[in-house]
């Protein structure tokens, strides 16, 4: 079973396909869960604590906006953990964890330059493309050791 970082890291379709094909999708909600349900954190934060943008300095400099560093504190460690990546090139409406495109650019860059196998895809627009979409993900995941 490989750990696969998906982009967008909140994609229902990619997370589902990776998991149903027997691998583990690395997704932002898991990182959020660690923070919002951790009983060790007193008064659990709404989403993340003000400490996260500081932790995000590992991925982006201090002159990068705080919202990017905060998001990177969630997503950066997932990229580090990944054995492979699947990237949607035209992901459409992105909000929340994926609502900042500067973060999204950095996420794609880090996935692509990590030196792991990466599959680039576009959302399907018809049945033929959808079959190609699923088949390529399947072939890609089967190729991972």
């Amino acid at each position: 079973m490989a750990k696969v970082i998906i982009y967008p890291t909140t994609s229902l379709i990619l997370a589902d396909l990776v998991d149903r094909m027997g691998h583990k999708a690395l997704v932002a909600p898991e990182a959020v869960r660690d923070r919002v349900t951790n009983p060790e954190i007193k008064s659990p934060p709404l989403n993340i604590t003000p400490e996260e943008p500081k932790k995000g300095l590992k991925y982006a400099a201090v002159d990068v906006p705080s919202g990017i560093r905060g998001r990177m504190a969630l997503i950066g460690p997932l990229i580090e953990e990944a054995d492979a990546g699947i990237i949607l090139d035209d992901p459409g409406v992105l909000t929340g964890c994926a609502g900042c495109n500067r973060t999204n650019e950095l996420v794609r860059l880090l996935i692509k330059t990590k030196g792991i196998p990466v599959l680039d895809l576009k959302y399907p627009r018809d049945d033929t493309e959808a079959r190609g979409f699923v088949a390529r993900i399947k072939a890609f995941l089967e190729g991972l050791k």
């Binding site: 396909l17 349900t37 409406v93 909000t95 049945d127 033929t128 699923v134 390529r136």
Partner: protein
């Protein structure tokens, strides 16, 4: 560790979110269930959720989609009733992707029948910009 998942049915699936909820209520699993307009949210211990997901997927192997959620169901920090209306931001992505689920469902079904289909790149014919010379000719033609 307790985890939370969204279970979302394809709009064309014959299984309704309420069917899934009833199945869970009738099962032995210690799982919290919350029905929403687009699917259901389940919350329980990791292993138990994993077992349950297998059962749920079996109800419609190609028409039910599952993803993680950070907040437990009904969490006041996310509940729109408590937070002054408006969907939480991630909702719009689920709504946007839900529209594609029928396509993915059909593709998964044909995948099960080992029908590979053509490569997607072959179906896209890109238009290239015309040459400057050609454009120049057209301009002259149009304004003459």
């Amino acid at each position: 560790m307790r985890i939370t998942k969204y279970i979302i049915t394809s709009p064309e699936s014959e299984v309704l979110p309420s069917d899934i909820a009833m199945r869970i209520y009738g099962s032995q699993h210690d799982i919290n269930v919350k029905e929403t307009c687009f699917g259901i949210i389940i919350n329980g211990e990791e292993d138990e959720v994993a077992d349950l997901i297998k059962e749920i997927r079996a109800m419609d192997p190609t028409g039910i989609f599952i993803k993680d959620r950070g907040f437990p169901p009904g969490d006041l920090r996310r509940c729109r009733g408590h937070r002054g209306g408006g969907a939480r931001p991630g909702y719009y992505m689920i709504e946007s992707e839900s529209k594609l689920l029928p396509l993915i469902s059909k593709a998964l079904a044909s995948e099960e029948k080992a029908d590979p289909g053509p490569k997607e790149t072959e179906t896209i014919q890109k238009k290239r910009p015309i040459s400057i010379k050609k454009l120049d000719e057209i301009i002259k033609e149009e304004i003459s």
